[in-house]
């Protein structure tokens, strides 16, 4: 059982939970993730990225968006309540060394897994350019934390409500065009964003790491549900990744695979939503 130590709502449907998990807090490295299961009888297992950890306190920080049944239930948990099982840390840690200049791009909720990578890259002595993007101002997360770590910080929103108006790929291209060009790019966000970031850096020959979040059951290599095509080869996100060469990933196939259970999820979430409504009605609150 993993007790929730603190809880914050970062923005619409985006939560930050600090959860007791001492072993994971001790072993985790940037780039790794956990599998969370709310209850072991019929609950599903979902992969979530680790946004931060405190090994002295024995906690890890999870940032997630409530999109399906399980993430909504997770968002409803209160401080003092517990998550039944958390498995991890999973996946290969990020390869961190002193590259020189590293440009890190975070889109929406993808900023959460980017955070420990930025911390790690900073500690290794890299010059850091951080680009954060979101649809609109209020969907931006971890801006304060990222500003504190970045040597150069760029904010973009699709609607221009904060920072530059436009997509993260615009400043990314500009930065890649500089002399000297950056030594490495790291892009984490929605698949479509990662795809276009990889396309943006490709002409400049800037190596680009992306971190994939696919459908998983076990997270230890056993099921192969997370598989993606990377450079024409099948790779498992859970044991071969989650980070891959963005120039080699078949994003189109990955996006299709992510929708495999869409209709089922909509149904489950709808049902869950209806039950909540019914409960509220019963309590005379609706």
């Amino acid at each position: 059982m993993h007790e929730i130590v603190s809880k914050e709502i970062l923005t619409d449907d985006v939560y930050r939970l600090r959860v007791r998990a001492p072993l994971i807090a001790e072993e985790r490295r940037p780039g790794q993730f956990v599998i969370v299961q709310l209850e072991e009888e019929y609950g599903e297992r979902i992969p979530l990225t680790i946004a931060d950890a405190d090994s002295r306190e024995g906690t890890i920080t999870l940032i997630f968006q409530a999109v399906g049944k399980t993430t909504h239930q997770l968002g409803d948990l209160k401080v003092g309540e517990s998550i039944q099982s958390i498995l991890g840390p999973l996946g290969k840690p990020t390869h961190i060394e002193k590259f020189g200049t590293v440009v890190c791009v975070g889109g929406g909720i993808g900023t959460a897994p980017l955070h420990p990578i930025v911390q790690g890259m900073k500690a290794a002595g890299n010059r850091l350019i951080v680009i954060l993007g979101a649809r609109t101002q209020k969907l931006i997360i971890l801006e304060r934390e990222m500003r504190a770590l970045a040597d150069e910080f760029i904010l973009c929103t699709d609607d221009g409500s904060a920072g530059r108006k436009g997509l993260v790929t615009d400043p990314l291209k500009e930065i890649c065009g500089r002399t000297p060009k950056p030594d490495l790019a790291v892009a984490i966000g929605p698949p479509i964003m990662m795809k276009f970031c990889a396309e943006a850096t490709r002409p400049f020959g800037v190596p680009t790491v992306v971190s994939l979040n696919t459908i998983m059951v076990d997270g230890t290599g056993m099921c192969g549900g997370c598989r993606v095509t990377v450079g024409k080869k099948t790779q498992f996100v859970c044991v071969d990744g989650p980070e891959f060469d963005g120039h080699q990933v078949d994003f189109d196939n990955m996006m299709k695979r992510l929708k495999a259970y869409k209709s089922h999820e909509d149904e489950a979430h709808h049902k869950c939503h209806m039950e909540t409504q019914a409960d509220l009605l019963k309590e005379g609150r609706a």
Partner: protein
């Protein structure tokens, strides 16, 4: 095979027993050979296609005794030679014939820890029953003494009488042993090491222990309550079980010894990395490894629609690629999840199929459509990246290959299309890379299997391994045999180093 109702089978056995029992002592070999083999009572195929309860219901006591009387008690006991853990088969069968079921279990338990499991899932027709003199005399392996069914019968009888019996445990030694994984090899090691008075912790990555017995083999072939009882027996013996703990990541293997003070480690992590065919279209939506499909259905209970949160893809026309037990399990699971047509595609013939004969028969009864000498060479999809069909090729059998089986040779130009909306790839497993990747100095072979010496010890001192992570994908009984050997080595090591 027509379906005989259970009361019918029982009545037949009662009648036979009335005749046989009084003259048991004087039965000659030729009399015994004439006793008809006892059919396994099963759920009616039409009914079981829509439920997940166990298909084979187990012998009635009268059937078990009649079946046991078929045994010739051969002095050279060829069946024992065929058993990987050398159970005294004539011995336990004689006890059953004499109506001494407790005695029979006791004999089996000298060599096997999991008779209720092995009686259900062992490939008896290629092991003990393959060597049976009765089957050979009748020139039909399916007429051999049904050793597996008898093993299952007495194991179930024992469990129903007084639960799983616990072995005596020696006083605490103050030593502790880590067991990684909780499948058949690990269960065996945990029990055998704990018996000697050492503390044992089992580390399991999933949220529930049991390994392949739980996530892989479906309820309709191995009820989960049997696995749970075996696990509970370990707990009662004082074995600690830590779930949601993946050694290599949550803790490095060496740290278990260096930081946590374990005196020895057993690696029984199994063959958990699915093989794919490496054909076009394999990453389309609707293509699954058998591991994923079965894990969703079994461990995550996706069959409980409306109750389980884990979704499962419901194909109307499902293709299963492969011919082993896992392929049968997948096909029969798809039937139970409501598929209209389930096609099993295997590139050799039925004779070469590695699945247990009983599973193949059950799959046929449940309406699985078998395609022999055919294989998928492409999976085709629509604009949404979802499977629409598979392209197959026909084969013929050529000269035998190194495994002794005739090699399938493709017939050029024989391509044809089968419309499908789901494809399950069940062509085996490779070794899981996690422990190997995170443990320096652990020697593995070119397939990634851990290399052990003949005591089960790996290249690292005090680290042992067994089961599928050593053997490649094999059987429950072999895993158990390996576990026995490693446990004996661990116990000897601990005894020798006070």
């Amino acid at each position: 095979m027509s379906h005989l109702s259970s009361p019918n089978l029982r009545q037949q056995a009662i009648d036979l027993l009335k005749d046989l029992d009084p003259r048991q002592a004087t039965l000659k070999a030729k009399d015994r050979i004439r006793i008809p083999a006892q059919d396994m009572p099963t759920q009616d195929p039409a009914i079981r296609r829509r439920n997940i309860q166990e298909v084979a219901e187990g012998y009635f006591p009268e059937q078990a005794r009649v079946e046991a009387m078929r045994c010739l008690q051969c002095r050279n006991a060829p069946c024992v030679e065929g058993c990987p853990v050398r159970i005294d088969i004539p011995g336990f069968i004689r006890a059953i014939a004499e109506n001494n079921f407790a005695g029979a279990v006791e004999i089996i338990r000298r060599n096997s820890l999991l008779p209720a499991v092995c009686g259900r899932v062992c490939p008896q027709e290629t092991q003990c029953q393959a060597e049976c003199t009765v089957g050979k005399s009748l020139k039909d392996i399916n007429q051999a003494v049904m050793i597996g069914r008898l093993e299952r019968f007495v194991a179930d009888w024992e469990r129903e009488q007084h639960g799983v019996r616990l072995p005596p445990i020696k006083p605490d030694t103050g030593r502790k042993v880590a067991v990684i994984g909780s499948g058949p090899a690990s269960i065996t090691v945990a029990a055998d090491v704990r018996r000697e008075g050492h503390a044992v912790t089992v580390f399991e990555a999933f949220h529930r222990p049991g390994g392949v017995l739980l996530y892989g083999i479906p309820e309709f072939r191995l009820p989960k309550k049997i696995v749970e009882m075996e696990i509970n027996a370990l707990k009662t013996m004082g074995v600690e079980i830590r779930t949601n703990f993946v050694v290599g990541r949550t803790r490095k293997l060496m740290d278990l010894m260096v930081k946590d003070g374990y005196d020895a480690v057993f690696v029984g992590t199994g063959a958990g990395l699915p093989k794919f065919m490496n054909i076009e279209g394999e990453n389309l939506v609707g293509v699954f490894s058998a591991n994923e499909y079965l894990t969703r259905a079994n461990l995550m209970r996706a069959y409980a629609v409306g109750q389980a949160d884990t979704p499962i893809f419901r194909g109307r026309r499902v293709a299963v690629l492969g011919g082993g037990n896992v392929a049968m399990d997948s096909a029969r699971t798809a039937v139970r999840l409501g598929a209209e047509e389930v096609h099993l595609i295997y590139r050799r013939t039925e004779v070469e199929m590695p699945a247990r004969v009983e599973e193949v028969a059950h799959a046929k009864e449940e309406g699985v459509i078998f395609h022999f000498l055919e294989n998928a060479q492409r999976i085709l999809g629509n604009d949404y990246g979802v499977v629409t069909s598979i392209e197959c090729l026909r084969y013929e059998l050529g000269a035998p290959d190194e495994s002794g089986r005739r090699r399938p040779v493709e017939l050029k130009g024989s391509e044809f299309i089968l419309p499908m909306d789901a494809v399950i790839v069940a062509i085996g497993n490779e070794s899981n890379p996690l422990i190997r990747q995170t443990t320096d100095g652990l020697k593995t072979n070119k397939w990634g299997n851990i290399v052990v010496d003949d005591t089960g010890k790996t290249s690292i001192d005090r680290v042992y391994a067994g089961g599928d992570i050593v053997l490649g994908a094999a059987t429950v009984i072999l895993a158990m045999g390996e576990g026995r050997r490693a446990a004996a080595s661990i116990n000897a090591q601990l005894a020798a180093s006070p």
